[in-house]
Amino acid sequence: MSFVGWLQIAALFLAVLAVIKPLGLYMARVFQGERTFISPVLAPVERGFYRLAGVDDQREQGWLAYAFAMLAFSIAGFVSLYAILRLQAFLPFNPQGFTGVAPDLAFNTAISFLTNTNWQNYAGETTMSQFSQMAGLTVHNFLSAASGIAMAMALTRAFARSKAKTLGNFWVDLTRATLYVLLPLAIVVTVVFIAMGLPQTLGASITATTLEGAHQVIALGPVASQEAIKQLGTNGGGFFNVNAAHPFENPTALSNLLNIFAMLSVSAALVYTFGQMVGERRQGWAFLATIAILLIVGVGVVYWAEAQGNPILTALGLDASGGNMEGKEVRFGQSASALYAAVTTGLSDGGVNAMHGSLTGLGGLVPMFLIQLGEVLPGGVGSGLYGLIVFAILAVFVAGLMVGRTPELLGKKIDGREMKFAMLAVLILPLAILGFTAVSVMIPAGVASIGTPGPHGLSEILYAYSSAAGNNGSAFGGLSGNTPWYNATLAIAMLLGRFAYVIPVLAIAGSIAAKVRAPASSGTFPTHGPLFVGLLIGVILILGGLQFFPALALGPIVEHFATLAGQTY
């Protein structure tokens, strides 16, 4: 570990901290339907959309109508994306002449982008036409993120309102999230990325002649634009197979910081938006403190573990001061790689700038564990916020009774109905992650894809399903995921992780909105302040993470201790 390394990490967190409040306030205005500085330009466009779609933007929806609108929109999105991928051979902007994507891969990919996961069982540069990348995948990078924000806003309004029947209008929230938040930010970030040297072209790949005289095909495309929304929407699906480790996606240490900054800022600012909209900014800061503590500890552990290097190689005489550089880009090193790894997994982004499978045992444990915690640190745009609120509901319920009152969060009493849906939601992750992992390690179709046998192989599979169910999308590497078994089951895990989670959340929103918002008193459980932050961290770790401990013990944990003991498999 070095001072410069820590400085880089500190600089990033400070930059994000600086942007949280202005961006959070701006989004609060957007979703409360107020005018913003950009309204003169965008409001006519927005109205035009509503007129075209026949949406009455004044009419609000109850939780069921909201959920149905979201589901209908998702189904339509899936069908169109699947069709684009299958038919890309007949569609324009296909300079490489790629054929249609295979059915199982197209299914997996469509689900993956629909659910904001961006798990990629394909190599973009050798599979997808420019049209598929732009009109298919990039569009969903916007829409899946916008729909996540919409659902988070529905839950936010549930807390902000008292005795309300409606949560807002899904179509309005979706339009506003795209038009007012994601699109302007993406344009700015794209331009900066182009300035940093990322390619942005509709042209085909070029063939270069290397010094040895060999021919090398260098893939190009609309990289900068996809990269921008990939991060802003916490999508993570790279243009290239190796994602942000590729020099065209992430050429410099500065672009690396901008990558991380872009993915973290919107999601973190949304937490502030929540506090602002419910009229309790301290609540937003308490959530942000929880996130920051867990995330910084995560970054620190990965950085420390990677800087220690591999004791087995050290024993063979390798200089340990260089740390573990396997699978890392030299232009990033341990610090920037650790930062990226922890943030991308805490966030449900899923982009990577290093091979997570090549991290040390402990270094690999952290990203996997951060995903398994439920992607709430601060999680995917929107999805992280509502996941965090589910944990907050559980935390006030478990400990809130200790002050001798029926537990409340922001003046809303938490009772059987909220508890039922919250438990339904948190059941999804262990079911999808542990269930599919256990089946996969027992059947030949599952084991055959493993890259490295032994505990590392278990980690590969465990990571894959964690990533899918957590809608993260990053891969441990090593696992050959493009098989019918994994294409199908990973897609199911992604669907469960998104929809089987968010529908109970919307049901909670419906029930919370209908309740009277009771004023706080000194007898109320205080949900801001260090005590609550500590409690929430405890609940996230114990209720969110503990059930994965046995599985982790057989994967990265045993790897960690075995490496220390000089043992390999």
């Binding site: 200790m402 079911l431 000194s522 114990i542």
Partner: protein, 685 residues
Amino acid sequence: MSSTHRPAAAKNRASGILDPAILVPAVGSAFAKLDPRQLMRNPVIFVTEIVAALVTLFFVRDLLVHEEAGFSGQIAAWLWFTVLFATFAEAVAEGRGRAQADSLKRSRSDLSARRLAAQGEATETVAATDLRIGDVVLVETGELIPGDGEVIEGIASVNESAVTGESAPVIREAGGDRSAVTGGTQVLSDRLKIRITTAPGSSFVDRMIALIEGAKRQKTPNEIALSILLSGLTLIFLIAVVTLWGLALYSGTVLSVTVLAALLVTLIPTTIGGLLSAIGIAGMDRLVRFNVIATSGRAVEAAGDVDTLLLDKTGTITFGNRMATDFLPAPAVSDADIAEAALLASLADETPEGRSIVALAKGEYAISSLDVTPDAIIPFAAETRLSGVDIGGRRIRKGAVDAVLRFAGIGPDRIPPAFQADVDRIARSGGTPLAVSDGERLLGVIHLKDVVKPGIKERFQQMRSMGIRTVMVTGDNPVTAATIASEAGVDDFLAEAKPEDKLAYIRKEQEGGRLIAMCGDGTNDAPALAQADVGVAMQTGTQAAREAANMVDLDSSPTKLIEIVEIGKQLLMTRGSLTTFSIANDVAKYFAIIPALFVATYPALAALNIMALGSPRSAILSAVIFNALIIVALIPLALKGVSYRPVGAAALLRRNLLVYGLGGLVLPFAGIKLVDLAVNALHLV
């Protein structure tokens, strides 16, 4: 707890937690409660029972195939103990109320009634159980009242000690607020005609018995929510344990059902699952010991949530009678002169006001007892509005200011300005001025006022720190009300309050999301009692009030509301603390069991065995034993409730989180280690 006088019978109800008379029968009923149909109500313990049965099957198989069966046998035994300890906790909680229920049942049995015919005075003797609503019965001296009802004719003194534990008889009469009678109580004098208002089996005593025995106990909303959380956690750990079998298989370990069962049962929240119903029963029982009967557990929980207390001024906040607090002499009159005169004028006055004047003169003004015999005593009369004595030629009078001035012959123009100022000040502050004169000499004014009970202000301060607002309800005018309100330190008051004002106030507060508690006794309180989230009726109140309320205070003490709130809070706190403890326990159990399961395959995992437990088998067995014993160890806490202090929520949370959260995290590490040392020392595995 308050220092209020507790009747003797109520004390008898309180029995120690380790009373053999309760523990011995509880062992029997703990086994009876193993019936799966009963246990289904408690998902966590039900799962434990299924798992215990499963491991028992494997133990029997091990025996039959002559494999080493000691380990699975011991695990099976301790899993059964886990279930038994949970049912035992419930049985003990129920047992504590049973003795009381039995004595109540005796008061009810073999009752007969003299039913009046529809017309005339003819009576027929029928069994009390044959009485129907609307029947009219006659009860005379020495007889037991056969059922709950309302007095429609007569007045009598009634011994209600069978129900309230209070041995002093109470008056019951037709009409007014003292017309309700309870079945099983005894008429001591005179005769009553009573209209029966409840059907047999649903009378007050019946409800009380059912409540105490916990027989008709229904889960409260909060208990339901907690059960959902616990069931959800059980499911999550079931998934974790079942899938672990597959993951272990991949890793080259075949896990036996016995060890998986051990892992599952130690992870699922058996501690709180096993104690949950005991906590609920004990909470109701605490209320009963406090001589309050709740119609449902829901009301007890609501009491913990109360935001606003509506308290009647009279009897709760003030003593209910005006008392003399000050003598203000007129110009050129000494303190001793007016005090002496006031004392003399009140010697024969037996009203509370008169007695308070005597007490003030003798106490604060140190006037010694005068050994004089008055020549004539002038009692208070409505026309003169004066009272006093003629003594040795002195004509001492006290009374309403204008009446005394007239008596002394002082015209409006001759009133001393200082005297008038005192009178005005007293009136403005909501007090009552009484003038005193000796013949034509005006001596001064006595300040009579409502006196706030000592300690009540501190009590309200505590309430405030708990986030509870206190609202005083009084029929006084706003000036008087404001004075007393500020003196007592209540947050708000309702002056010149009519019953419908109370109802409106409650509705308004509830609109704002607040929960309201109030107590009342009159029929005109009934709508407000029904509307309030916690309505406490006095046992001495009318039947209508008792029906509308969700709690009845047998001591008829209006301050009881404060204790009821504390009991409600304590119930919720106990639940929350043990839930937190139970969940925090899991961390240590993972560290005990996971390395034990896999150390054979992956020796490197021995590093996770941070407790340095003897062997894999002893580690697993120790975790299971600890998990079972902790239930027993916590039974006293579940029954007594965690200690409650009236400090703010933040301070309570900090303390309980430290004790039960951090304690729950750390304690099992030490506990499992100790059990492991014992297991190895005894060579159990």
